[in-house]
């Protein structure tokens, strides 16, 4: 039965609470579109979110969802997936929630290759708490806590995910929505840890503090600074390298763990026999 986005988004909860021009609604619609295209059953989906603007996305979803503490979405998602590998587990985190406070769980979920899709709304700051800088804020940037311009180099989420072993890593922006939908669908279909770093616009804080006065100006900023030339992997010589950086196949944790369980069962049965045989 073909599905549409409102099989996953609760229409009567709209409008979203996000600020005017914030791209989170675009990302959420793209995710719902991917779910619809893949005809996934809401009861088999678990969306795990952390804390932040993007962490409120599951308030609008009719799938299963688990809204956990700041930075811990991937750790909680690991528990969900490990218990029931048949669930489609998607973690929605911001740049702060996902790779700043949540950085440790991000690299280990990738290393462990949990079959989880991490969709990161990367708007270069902590929007919900008032526009403070995060681990991905370009240097220098003006934010609520870097009034003289930030002096800390940011992470490149895709490089980080690739180094940690994630088998699918892609980046799109909320301007390039066709790409965004395709990468989200590919990520969800990938068996293993998949990451989509979505460059997003935050007009209320990041834009206002950095001379990008309106949502339209921010969208133009994305359009004019993105490049598909993949070798230009580094995001921040003030250009956004978009595309699929990693797309390989690698046995995921749950597949290998099921094998481990079989071995363990056989070994323990044999042990039992040896013991009783004496």
């Amino acid at each position: 039965m073909p599905k549409n986005i409102f099989d996953y988004i609760i229409e009567d909860r709209l409008p979203f609470f996000w600020c005017e021009g914030c791209g989170n609604g675009i990302i959420l619609k793209s995710i719902a579109q991917a779910f619809a295209d893949l005809e996934l059953e809401p009861k088999n989906i678990v969306v795990v979110t952390g804390i932040g603007c993007w962490g409120k996305a599951d308030d609008y979803l009719s799938t299963n969802s688990l809204h956990v503490t700041h930075g811990r979405a991937l750790a909680a998602a690991t528990g969900v997936k490990a218990v029931n590998p048949n669930l489609k587990v998607v973690a929605l985190m911001g740049d702060g929630d996902g790779v700043t406070i949540g950085g440790n769980h991000f690299i280990h979920a990738a290393r462990r290759n949990m079959d989880i899709t991490a969709i990161i709304s990367n708007n270069f700051n902590y929007g919900m708490t008032g526009g403070q800088y995060s681990g991905t804020t370009p240097e220098p940037s003006f934010t609520a806590t870097s009034r003289y311009g930030s002096v800390e180099p940011p992470f490149d989420i895709c490089a980080l995910a690739k180094a940690a072993g994630a088998p699918y890593v892609a980046r799109a922006t909320v301007y390039h929505v066709n790409l965004l939908e395709r990468y989200i669908k590919n990520a969800i279909q990938k068996k293993g840890f998949s990451v989509v770093d979505v460059i997003n616009i935050c007009p209320t804080y990041y834009g206002r503090f950095n001379k990008l006065k309106s949502p339209v100006e921010m969208m133009s900023w994305l359009r004019d600074n993105s490049t598909m030339k993949l070798e230009d992997g580094n995001i921040y010589n003030n250009r956004f390298a978009i595309g699929e950086f990693v797309n390989e196949d690698k046995l995921d944790f749950s597949t290998k763990y099921a094998q481990l369980q079989n071995n363990a069962r056989k070994l323990s049965v044999q042990l039992e026999q040896d013991l009783s045989g004496k």
């Binding site: 979203f16 996000w18 005017e20 021009g21 609604g25 619609k29 909320v174 969208m219």
Partner: protein, 68 residues
């Protein structure tokens, strides 16, 4: 018969961010000051749905009108 498209805007959801108007390749939409986008030239619409795709509020829709 040239394909016709019907563009509808949900005025409750629209937060007047102006993105749809700014990035419509055929300038079908116009925006007043602090108002919801107006469908000024519906016949110019080519059905690319960039407005729908880039709307953060799921507040604008493009339906193909049945060819008369």
């Amino acid at each position: 018969m040239k394909k016709q498209y019907e563009i509808s805007v949900d005025e409750q959801r629209c937060k007047k961010c102006g993105i749809c108007v700014a990035f419509c390749p055929k300038n079908v939409l116009e925006i007043g000051i602090n108002t919801v986008p107006k469908v000024a030239f519906p016949e110019a619409c080519i059905g690319c749905r960039w407005c729908y795709l880039r709307c953060p509020e799921i507040a604008i829709f493009v339906e193909k009108k049945e060819a008369v």
